[in-house]
């Protein structure tokens, strides 16, 4: 526990320092996007890494968060802070409705069920144009503010998002160490065994699914108020896949892995801009190579290399 506290302290200091040090508006925005993606990856990691339930439709919850707050603040002039609970509530509601039948499936079938759900939500965003603005997108989402503090400046928004990330990290870490966290890992290893020792697997899976949906909706909320323009393409199947990739590349069942995966996958397109037309080819290659070389994700892969170098050093 004390070790954890030290790590959180360091993390807090790093966030504060980066916020002070980085002057460039563009970089601050990029870092904020990393923060938002970290929340997304963290949500899915709780579901996929710990409970072992794959979801290929998480962009749907991300989108529900973003579109709910967009519609409420623009069409109905509701304060963004009031629309946040609405967005979370809607995401939770949808997660319960979808989760109840879908979470009975396992393996590929679960992946496909969530994929179908994600596609349907994406099509709704695109086609329900009277409400969502259709394929051309939704403009004019107001920035966030608390009293006199506006979160419009990139630095303030950076702090808002990253402190939320920090709080979510603490929360998730505690969740994992609780009875529920142990139950989830038991489900991951064997659902039948978990049932046999008295874990209500259905409720447990549903709870973590709902939690992860809420976290995704939260990131959608932050995303919408940051860029002030959203379009269905930000919540498509490819985005769902990207979130899964963040989790897997960073490392499943690792909270810091979500941070690593989200940072890498957000930065990668930036680095690949110089490849211009080769961007997609290189991106695909990197994905395949990482998975072939370190199937347990980079966090585990780097740790393995480190441990191996230590054992070889100890051997004379």
């Amino acid at each position: 526990m004390t070790q954890d506290r030290i790590i959180y302290g360091i993390f807090f200091l790093v966030i504060t320092a980066i916020g002070f040090a980085v002057e460039n508006h563009y970089y601050l925005q990029l870092l904020t996007i990393i923060g938002i993606n970290t929340l997304l990856a963290l949500g899915l990691n709780m579901l996929m890494g710990y409970a072992g339930q794959i979801s290929l439709g998480h962009a749907a919850f991300y989108g529900i968060g973003a579109y709910t707050t967009a519609i409420l603040t623009v069409h109905y002039n509701i304060n963004p802070w009031m629309s946040l609970p609405c967005a979370l509530f809607l995401a939770v509601l949808v997660a319960v409705i979808v989760g109840l039948p879908t979470l009975k499936l396992t393996g590929y079938y679960l992946g496909m069920g969530t994929l179908g759900f994600g596609m349907i939500v994406h099509i709704l965003f695109r086609e329900w144009s009277s409400l969502t603005g259709g394929a051309s997108g939704f403009v004019g989402i107001p920035p966030l503010e608390i009293g006199p503090i506006s979160f419009f400046p990139a630095r303030n928004y950076f702090y808002l998002v990253w402190f939320t990330v920090l709080i979510s990290f603490v929360f998730c870490k505690r969740l994992i160490k609780s009875r529920m966290g142990r139950a989830l890992r038991a489900i991951h290893d064997s659902e039948n065994a978990a049932k046999a020792v008295g874990i209500n697997t259905r409720n447990m899976k549903l709870e973590i699914f709902v939690f992860s949906a809420a976290l995704s909706a939260l990131s959608g909320f932050f995303y919408a108020h940051m860029v002030s323009f959203i379009s269905p393409e930000s919540f498509s199947f490819l985005v769902s896949v990207k979130i899964v990739t963040m989790v897997v590349i960073g490392g499943m069942a690792s909270i810091w892995g979500s941070l690593l995966g989200a940072s890498l996958l957000t930065m990668l397109p930036e680095w690949l801009h110089s490849f211009s037309d080769f961007e997609m080819v290189v991106y695909g290659l990197i994905l395949m190579l990482v998975m072939i070389i370190t199937p347990q994700g980079l966090t585990r892969g780097i740790l393995d290399i480190y441990e191996r170098s230590r054992t070889t050093k100890n051997k004379p």
Partner: protein, 292 residues
């Protein structure tokens, strides 16, 4: 009204036959490797683009261009298995999903580099005038599509039933280790499954090329639809996939005609969810779906 309904039916069967061919590719691979190939749609794209180059570009005779494209794409599938799938150390389904997704992005990127971002088109296979049938128009290309799809299905059926290699493949699909113990080179059979599956993808791309615009990003949606069709009919079953494909095509066409075209893409996924909830093994239960 009957005229319109008949017209919807025709276009439904045409699209359905294409979905069916894609679904068969998915199914074959799934039954022998338990792998869902998310890059399958990209092989469809490669098939369409190959035809664009060889037939419309180089002016090769159609049958030769057809054969060369299917063979070429199947070879890409072969390479894909050798380089990306075989080398995986931990064949966990999440890892394999990400790898095939990576492959699909890679292939799409290659498609963009080779053929550019513009859409291409090819003429129909034969320039007969449309056939008039009870007031509805039947395009000759539709007949080609359905005939080729049926021919492929029949050939595969015969291959699996009548040849030793086909039976060996089926044995590998049922139990890889047991097949290996009886002396079947199961690794080779899996390679063959990749070869056939991607070849079927190419066939789908070739037959769809004349009725759509071919561009580097056409594969994703087609792949997903083919996948829905495979699930609908029963993943792992040949005739189930054909049935699922036709059913999906017809439902989609009627949905678009009678309700709204904006929901076209949603129909496939609604059907997917429905079948998963009600009967996850598909209409023709092929393998035990993991559900309890």
């Amino acid at each position: 009204m009957t005229q319109e309904l008949l017209q919807y039916l025709f276009s439904g069967i045409t699209n359905g036959a294409i979905y069916a061919v894609i679904a068969v590719g998915f199914s074959m691979l799934y039954s022998s490797t338990e792998l869902i190939n998310f890059a399958h749609g990209e092989f469809v794209m490669l098939g369409a683009m190959g035809l664009v180059t060889l037939w419309a570009g180089f002016g090769l005779p159609l049958p030769l261009a057809f054969f060369l494209t299917v063979f070429g794409v199947a070879c890409v599938g072969f390479l894909f298995e050798r380089t990306a799938i075989r080398t995986v150390r931990k064949p966990d389904h999440i890892v394999l999903i990400i790898i095939t997704v990576g492959a699909s992005i890679f292939l799409r990127g290659m498609g963009m580099l080779i053929w550019g971002k513009d859409a291409h088109s090819v003429p129909a296979f034969s320039d007969h005038p449309p056939v008039d049938l009870a007031g509805a128009k039947l395009l000759p290309q539709s007949i080609w599509i359905v005939l080729i799809a049926l021919f492929c299905a029949l050939m595969l059926h015969l291959f699996f039933r009548k040849t030793l290699t086909g039976k060996a493949m089926e044995a590998t699909a049922i139990n890889k280790k047991a097949a290996w113990l009886t002396g079947i080179p199961s690794e080779k059979m899996i390679l063959l499954a990749f070869f056939f599956s991607t070849g079927m993808g190419a066939v789908a791309g070739i037959i769809i090329a004349p009725i759509t615009m071919c561009s580097y990003d056409m594969g994703t949606m087609l792949g997903l639809k083919g996948f829905c069709a495979a699930m609908l009919g029963g993943l792992g079953s040949l005739w189930g996939s054909i049935l699922g494909g036709l059913l999906l095509g017809i439902m989609e066409s009627f949905g678009v005609g009678l309700f709204s075209s904006s929901l076209k893409d949603a129909i496939a996924f609604l059907l997917l969810l429905l079948i998963l909830y009600v009967r996850p093994g598909g209409i023709i239960m092929a393998k035990d779906a993991k559900r309890f």
